[in-house]
Amino acid sequence: MSSQIESHDDVNDGKNPVPPTDEAGLPATREHDPFADPGLPAHKPRIQDLDERAAKRSERVVTLLFTVSMLATVGFILSYALIPIDAITYIWPFGNVSPLNFSLGMTLGLALFCIGAGAVHWSRTLMSDEESAQERHPIEATPVVKAAVMEDFRKGTDESGIGFGRRKMIRNSMVGALALVPLSGIVLLRDLGPSPEGGAPLRRTMWGEGTLIINENTGQPLRPEDMVVGSLVQAMPEGLDLHDHHFHEEIAKAAVMLVRLEPEDIKDQQSADWGYEGILCYSKICTHIGCPATLYEQQTHHALCPCHQSTFDLSDGARVLFGPAGHALPQLRITVNEDGYLAAMGDFEEPPGPSFWERG
């Protein structure tokens, strides 16, 4: 082994058939520069180039791949026609999958893959793999071309009068006209939506004095005795129905959650006063970007928003404990009406949902 290594000398041993030359075609100064470019190595033949049997083998492999592709397409069509769309089959290791989806995907994938594999194998083993070099040419124009272009340009500006200020009025008015004409397009965009009226629609919700609190699950108004300590209720204002045309716009602002705490656990006096016997009603729309922040931990009284982990302490006026939310969840003042149902005492005192410029 060691003799082999030692014999493999770098200096011209006659094995390198390409006489190294530099770009000018002069013999390379290898003795002077040990790091000179030795030139493109000679092409080494592949097995397929020398052995016709190997080439035939490659040919057969390519043909086989193309044939498999054809068969796979037939398989695709058969799968499409034969496998019911609602079938579910256990296929290891993927689970209970749709056999139609699986076999359509596999046959299509195989048909495509085999075409690609065939073409690549063909090019790799049977097409010439001799590398050749192509010259690059500098991208920059020669000074002569540059001068000629500049001359042409000057002629053009001269003829039009734009260049040396002879027809200044034409130029300026044209620039003005071109600058103004896109304005029409921008003006047309005005009716994309209504005016925000200084944020007024964002402040107003369906809650008002006496609005009953509807349990979203049952669709019935909520009574205080429905809730035990530690329970959580998702609720919406009375008069809102899933089938309403504006259900989404209204619920996006008016959705609330109610929790029941031991009254002595409530740290914020105003918050306790705005609730009813430990039942607190908060807007569940996060003040950060508007996800429902309803991951309520009944032991810690924390409500977490799943989008960006803003954490609110519902026992302390929904103060922000963590995360990117900038202010507390607005609390809805509630009471119990003469029929024994929980009801709002008015709309939110501050706009629910994400902050906006005019929020104040």
Partner: protein, 269 residues
């Protein structure tokens, strides 16, 4: 041996050594890591008392107080009802191994009879929800579509769309509901264990609880279909992105390497 030493400094030698080292570490870890079941057996012998109160005194009283009145280490059990006991004990959450932010599930060490005795004892301390009848949580009786709507309103914020679980604050978490006994799901909704809020019948009527169980049965059991193929854990875009960044692009790059590689040359003789 000479051959080996000659290849010692081969450019690829470091990778080969690394692979061997990784394999050895993994093998050692697999051989030496403690088996999961070992702990359960040890304490099993300690459970020999049949009567609920005695069971309670042994397994629960140290945290929840001698009469279930609670202590600094555990909440009061007066009024939690038999359903809470059945849920906590038969899922192995209680008794807790050590105090922590959350009691994890572990192999249950009580027999069904013992759990019933414990439940009877706790239920005697104060009125609370009882253990539900099987019909109450039979998923085949529920409406999965309606259950899905209820799930997305009440549950998915913590447990994810299909109940795969999710993170809460400071290391707490909502557990994965995969293949969880419908009875336990029902009891959890009813009693609100640990961080979970409770959903008493007045808030979420029994038939709605059953609908939720029907939804979970449809989408998160070993039998649930995953129509489009392997489900990547059901965690959504993060898992999908990870797949694209590893296996997806990995396969494509592997193909690209093959396309661009030089074909094997005939040996120069």
């Amino acid at each position: 041996m000479k051959k080996l030493s000659a290849r010692r400094r081969h450019p690829l030698a470091a990778f080969v050594v690394l692979i061997f080292a990784l394999a050895a570490t993994g093998g050692l870890y697999a051989a030496l890591a403690p088996a999961g079941e070992a702990k359960a057996d040890a304490s099993e012998t300690s459970i020999a008392i049949e009567e609920g109160q005695k069971l309670y005194a042994v397994g629960c009283a140290s945290c929840h107080g001698a009469g279930g009145q609670g202590s600094s280490d555990g909440p009061t059990l007066v009024g939690v009802g038999a359903a809470a006991v059945d849920f906590q004990v038969s899922t192995g959450r209680m008794p807790m191994q050590q105090p922590g932010p959350q009691a994890p599930t572990k192999p249950n060490i009580y027999t069904e009879e013992e759990i019933a005795q414990l439940a009877a004892y706790i239920a005697s301390l104060g009125p609370g929800p009882g253990v539900p009848e099987p019909a109450a949580y039979d998923p085949s009786e529920g409406n999965a579509a309606h259950g899905g709507e209820l799930f997305r309103t009440n549950c998915s914020q913590c447990h994810n769309f299909t109940g795969q679980g999710g993170a809460l604050t400071h290391g707490k978490y909502a557990p994965n509901l995969h293949d969880v006994d419908p009875k336990h799901i029902y009891q959890a909704m009813l009693t609100g264990p640990q961080a979970m809020p409770s959903f008493p019948d007045a808030v979420l009527p029994p038939e709605q609880k059953r609908d939720i169980i029907a939804w979970l049965t449809a989408v998160n059991t070993s039998e649930s279909p995953s129509e489009g193929g392997f489900g990547l854990g059901g965690f959504g875009p993060v898992a999908e992105g990870l797949f694209a960044w590893t296996i997806g692009i990995g396969l494509l790059v592997a193909v690209a390497v093959w396309v661009a590689a030089h074909t094997a040359k005939a040996r120069k003789s």
